[in-house]
Symmetry: C2
Subunit: 330 residues, 2 copies
Amino acid sequence: MHPSTVSRALSAEPGHLLRPETRARVAAAADRLDYRPSAIARSLRLQRTLTLGMLVPDIANTFLAGIIKGAEEAAHARGYSLVLCNTGDLAEREATYIRVLREREVDGVLVASTRMADATIADLRADGFPFVLVNRAAGGKDDLVVTVDNTAAAALVVDHLVALGHTRIAHVAGPRSTTTGSERAAGVAAAARRHGVDARIVEAETWSEAAGHRAARELFQVIQPIWGSRPTAVFGANDLIALGARRAATEARLSVPGDLALAGFNDTPEALLADLTTIHVAPEEMGARAAGLLIARLEGQPIADRRVVLPAALVVRGSTTGAALGRRIA
Amino acid sequence: MHPSTVSRALSAEPGHLLRPETRARVAAAADRLDYRPSAIARSLRLQRTLTLGMLVPDIANTFLAGIIKGAEEAAHARGYSLVLCNTGDLAEREATYIRVLREREVDGVLVASTRMADATIADLRADGFPFVLVNRAAGGKDDLVVTVDNTAAAALVVDHLVALGHTRIAHVAGPRSTTTGSERAAGVAAAARRHGVDARIVEAETWSEAAGHRAARELFQVIQPIWGSRPTAVFGANDLIALGARRAATEARLSVPGDLALAGFNDTPEALLADLTTIHVAPEEMGARAAGLLIARLEGQPIADRRVVLPAALVVRGSTTGAALGRRIA
DNA sequence: TTGTACGCGTTATCAA
DNA sequence: TTGATAACGCGTACAA
């Protein structure tokens, strides 16, 4: 049996002419010896690995886990594997991972990391290395992006709170160094201005419950005295931050929604548990779309939209009943 | 410049004798051309990919996400990458993924999948393919395993409930087809027998909140009438199942912990949110230990313990105050 | 329809 | 100390 014949027999390409008998003989032998063609050797020859890299700030974040899940599923369905990299949103680790992934010659990368140093991403762009940005804004106009309209979604929350009658709204923003953090904060500011209501913005250091807690505690202790009276509503830039704010509120003897309305962003399982009003985004679809976009790019398929903006809808739950305003709404 | 010289210059191996000048010249050129050695070609030559596969039933499960995070971190620290595979605990997908991973010649696999068909794992064993089982029991005596003592941990929960005075305890078990599910159920049964208390066990179809809800609803509707009086405590085989049970309880107009004590397993962030008594396990350490064990095996390092059993401690929270028994405990 | 020859980019070995 | 050579396992152009 000759290697090239085996290769042809096992190839999915219909272009190869060989008689059924030979093909069958190869299949039988392969089965008997449980022969596995080496993807490594194939990658070396074809100059593609059918592998994608994925940069994520925190796997343990349930929203990001959903994105990963969707991406992995979509990638696998198209014959691609996914190499997962947890960056902790640290620029240094991001750069290291990008280097590792490129040495391993992944065909492209999905970047869900928000704090990605512009330099690193600019390198990718300059080198023409295929990538898709997920759940974060683009640097360049030509980048492939799957995201939500953070500014508009944040405004939805403010609209909702204002409709309930709130006029003093605090926003615990995500890190300003992240694209999502600054976009959502901008959305809050713009909407508040439009409604003519008062909004104060404090910044959480990270996208975690703990950082939300710290920032909200500072809000209640520092901002509130300056503001004069306390906010009647707090909007956390993601669900975790909102939950941290809830803990700080509890410590300040403020009940939710009795004394304080509370809203988050992402509609993670935690938001449902905590009965939190939030912005619903479909993470698995986001991941799947991103992987699909990257693979389309890799395989030279036509790309309709370079920027996919997924819908983001307000989900109203018990944490914003208006009870903080004297039960305006039952 | 000659390829082998470049290889030697860029190699980390200290065994290579070459003069500093040459080394510097290579480094300079590599830098100028931003040359990246091909990990693919190296893998082909060295017959190892420095890549691990990881089989997980559900990335979106926060406990598993923690395991993945720990494993990825540990792997990366040792120079390995991690290919993530989400199996949904489906035997067919597990088999497919194993095939893909072996074709890609990953050096070994971490198996956190609980429902892994014995046939597939037996294949790995028979072929001498390196693997480590994480958070699930071993099939074979010689397998490498990182787990907790599920039986003992489940007994801890029963001990706690009995100490509070509960005598009718219901366990919403995980799927019997999973090793963790059956071990925890066995632990409950044994502990109940030892204490001479009544325990009923129902089975959730999956490790999800929804399945926990369904099973608990059945518990309240079917088992309870048979039992005569309702259980005063429900122990879910993981936190999600417990939260599903809580929802079913709420629907049955039972308050927690007023009418019903509730406990879970894993101490996920959700358990903290829901103030759930649970068994604390350190998922990141579990993942890290598993990756470490696998890499030690791959690199021929001595292995002290083939079976690592991590500590599992009871964390008592508000969901089991004894209020269900007329506030035996304040 | 099948066989032959070559190259993908490394690194180990041997020769210089 | 460095250069030359072979081999890892595959896919493909070309020859037979």
